[in-house]
């Protein structure tokens, strides 16, 4: 960016305020490029800037503790054009309730996006007010709220333009009075549904099945049997393009059901140990358009060479492949490299079988590969040497926690291939080797993440983090708690004991 000093502020005549010549919309355009802090300071420059800034402020994030009710009227007089609003409360405090939500929604008739976090005092009445006053709502994301299925239903009935719905940890779904929730008026507009950590999330089955234009479906850590639901909904959502299944009770049956969605392009299968090679093969067989596949096998070896070879044979469009806790060998990797001529991004984490032979195979055959990331694999300097000549399009390679790869070698590699960016992270003494694998989804900070190294690929859409108030100690606590939960869950699954959450 241009340093301010480079722009001459010495004008040729007496100093004048050129900003006064700008129409309001140009001033607003300038404010749009500024962050919240800068905008705040701009609003204190002069009256005109105060007015324009307030009118053009479209995005607002508020701490939604109960006291907000008293300030809301004033706030929204100043900010009268808000279209994207986040109301976040912390867990320990009382949140705003229905009265505040009704007031706020009344003042924000142009609201297109709303994010609610831990607003436990809001009931379906508040949500009904929201639906009534904000009919243009396109995106609703709620986490840790308690307004139950009814609260979601009223929004679906009132907001016919709703495109994205994300529900996490919603209480009240298992009430006796909770009927299954259909898509309501939003049936034709719904594009993306994300359900996380719900008990009785199956009550949203009609919602999913009744949205013919649904493109994205994400299911994370929701209790109960999802095979049946996937079988029921697959016909209703033929146009689905992206599916995420994480820590769900889903098996090859569910994958077989999904194989009828021939337009599928993106598949994330994370820690679903009942999905095996057979299921993946069935899916790959019918879904020829798959271009991004992420599989976290949780080191259970249910998915390996067989499934990947099926992918290699059937999915020539594959652009991105991420394998975590999966053990492929040259058998499948070679086939993928030969058949998937568009493979641009490859990541392997915690593969016990990815060694020098596999590395050489990739280097020799992956002609289109641009980015490579290897973490916690038994590859060594010898195998990496193949990268001097191999993968002609390679731009970036990241090696993390691979004990066989030395810094001296990496320096040499950088010297031998100048256009290649090489990043080496060494094994740290403090971290537990397993930590990074079970990291995903366990951190109790509201962010859904796959292991951090996937960021290097730049293809995973991480939800935007909250306002920067990170609580590392809490995250670690959550991580430890979560790790025990999932360890025990997995033991339950692998011993075939019945799911205690059966409804």
């Amino acid at each position: 960016m241009i340093p301010a000093a480079a722009i001459s502020t010495a004008s040729t005549g007496p100093a004048r305020d050129h900003t006064a010549d700008l129409p309001d919309e140009c001033l607003a355009l300038i404010f749009q490029s500024l962050g919240s802090g800068d905008r705040k300071r701009c609003s204190l420059v002069c009256r005109r800037w105060l007015a324009v800034e307030g009118q053009s402020r479209h995005r607002l994030a508020l701490d939604a503790r109960a006291a907000l009710l008293e300030a809301a009227a004033v706030l929204f007089t100043r900010y009268d054009a808000v279209s994207k609003l986040a109301l976040k409360c912390d867990r320990r405090s009382d949140s705003i309730g229905d009265e505040a939500l009704a007031l706020i929604s009344l003042r924000c008739p142009n609201l297109t996006r709303l994010k609610l976090r831990a607003c436990r005092a809001i009931t379906e009445c508040g949500m009904a007010a929201l639906a009534k006053h904000c009919p243009n709502l396109r995106k609703l994301s709620c986490g840790s709220c308690t307004f139950g299925a009814k609260g979601v239903e009223v929004v679906l009935r009132g907001c016919a333009l709703l495109e994205e719905l994300s529900i996490k940890r919603l209480r009240g779904l298992s009430d006796a009075s909770a009927d299954p929730v259909g898509p309501g008026a939003a049936a034709a507009s719904l594009r993306s549904v994300c359900l996380k950590e719900l008990y009785n999330g199956q009550c949203f089955a009609p919602l999913i099945a009744g949205s013919p234009n649904l493109k994205i479906l994400k299911l994370f850590r929701c209790s109960g049997d999802w095979d049946r639901l996937l079988e029921a909904i697959a016909d209703g959502v033929p146009g689905i393009v992206e599916i995420h299944l994480e820590k769900l009770q889903v098996s090859d049956r569910g994958l077989a059901a999904l194989s009828s969605c021939a337009d599928l392009e993106v598949l994330h299968l994370v820690k679903t140990p009942e999905c095996t090679d057979a299921g993946l093969a069935t899916l790959a067989d019918k879904c020829r358009l798959l271009r991004k596949i992420h599989i976290d096998g949780w080191k259970t070896n249910r998915i390996g060479d067989e499934g990947l070879m099926a992918v290699a044979r059937r999915c020539p469009n594959l652009q991105e492949l991420v394998l975590i806790g999966v053990n492929p060998t040259t058998l499948s990797l070679g086939l993928i490299a030969s058949n998937c001529r568009n493979l641009e991004r490859l990541a392997l984490c915690g593969s016990e079988t990815f060694g020098d032979a596999e590395m050489s195979c990739i280097a020799a055959k992956c002609v289109a590969l641009k980015k490579l990331c290897i973490k916690g694999c038994p590859v060594s300097d010898q195998g990496m040497e193949a990268l001097v000549e191999g993968c002609p399009k390679l731009v970036k390679v990241k090696v993390k926690k691979c004990r066989g790869v030395t810094p001296e070698f990496v320096d040499w590699l950088r010297g031998s291939r100048a256009t290649l960016a090489v990043n080496l992270d060494l094994v740290s003494e403090i971290e537990q080797p397993d930590a990074t694998l079970s990291e995903s989804g366990i951190l109790d900070n509201g962010n859904e993440q796959l292991p951090a190294m996937v960021d290097q690929i730049g293809s995973v859409e991480l939800p935007s983090s909250s306002n920067g108030r990170s609580c590392p100690w809490r995250a670690r606590m959550g991580f430890l708690a979560g790790r025990n939960f999932f360890a025990s869950t997995f033991r339950r699954w692998s011993h075939g004991s019945s799911n205690p959450h059966h409804s």
Partner: protein, 229 residues
């Protein structure tokens, strides 16, 4: 045979430009499509100095698009160097004095040239980033037309409540509190980096009633404004 369009600046100068270049301006594009370009297009809001710069911008960007298109057709995926070149050219283009910069914004707005408008507005935004209100005023010679009372009020706003006084405070700088206030029940709305933090302090209690950032802001503010004895 490339079509030429005549453009006339406010000070009577005539510019002949290729149609593709002129059509970078949506305003001119509509005029051409509506067949109003016959005897040349008068631009009474744009001086010759600024118009020549605008034309320079449009020419360069039309060239860049054409080059990118032909590269794409030739399946040459290395467009990065060209992008960087254009970016560098843009940066140099806006290295002008303020008067010119703002005139360019006005021209880009009037002529509806999105790229130029975005570029120039971003440039001004960069001049604002990280500055305090006073520094911003200095940079642009803006007069502070708030009365001292108004400035205070923006920071301290009285909302009458039931039996207690409720105050909403907008506070921009981080200040450390030195002593606990002897306060009445107050409701504060403060701004941290991203949002507003409502908080309640009951009589005699300290900052711990607040939670999160900005606790100290509030107390000091109240002390400074003599709201607390």
């Amino acid at each position: 045979m490339a079509e030429k369009i005549i453009l006339k600046s406010s000070d009577g100068e005539v510019f002949e430009v290729e149609e593709t270049v002129a059509m970078e301006s949506q305003t001119i594009k509509h005029m051409i499509e509506d067949d109003c370009a016959g005897n040349g297009i008068p631009l009474p809001n744009v001086t010759s100095k600024i118009l020549s710069k605008v034309i320079e911008y449009c020419k360069r960007h039309v060239e860049a698009s054409a080059a990118a298109a032909s590269k794409y057709a030739a399946e040459d995926s290395s467009s990065k160097p060209a992008d960087n070149e254009l970016k560098a050219w843009d940066e140099e283009f806006v290295r002008v004095d303020q008067a010119t910069l703002f005139d360019l914004i006005l021209a880009a707005n009037y002529l509806n040239i999105k790229g130029l408008l975005d570029l120039t507005c971003q440039t001004v935004a960069d001049m604002i980033k990280g500055k305090t209100p006073e520094e911003i005023r200095k940079t642009f010679n803006i007069k502070n037309d708030f009365t001292p009372e108004e400035e205070d009020e923006m920071k301290v706003r009285l909302i009458s409540g039931k039996s207690t006084k409720h105050i909403a405070v907008v506070w921009q700088s981080v200040v450390k509190a030195t002593e606990p206030p002897t306060c009445m029940r107050l409701v504060f709305v403060m701004e941290n980096g991203n949002g507003w933090l409502p908080a309640v302090v009951t009589s005699g209690s300290r900052a711990s009633a607040f939670g999160g950032l900005g606790e100290y802001n509030c107390l000091r503010c109240c002390l400074a404004y003599g709201l607390l004895r």
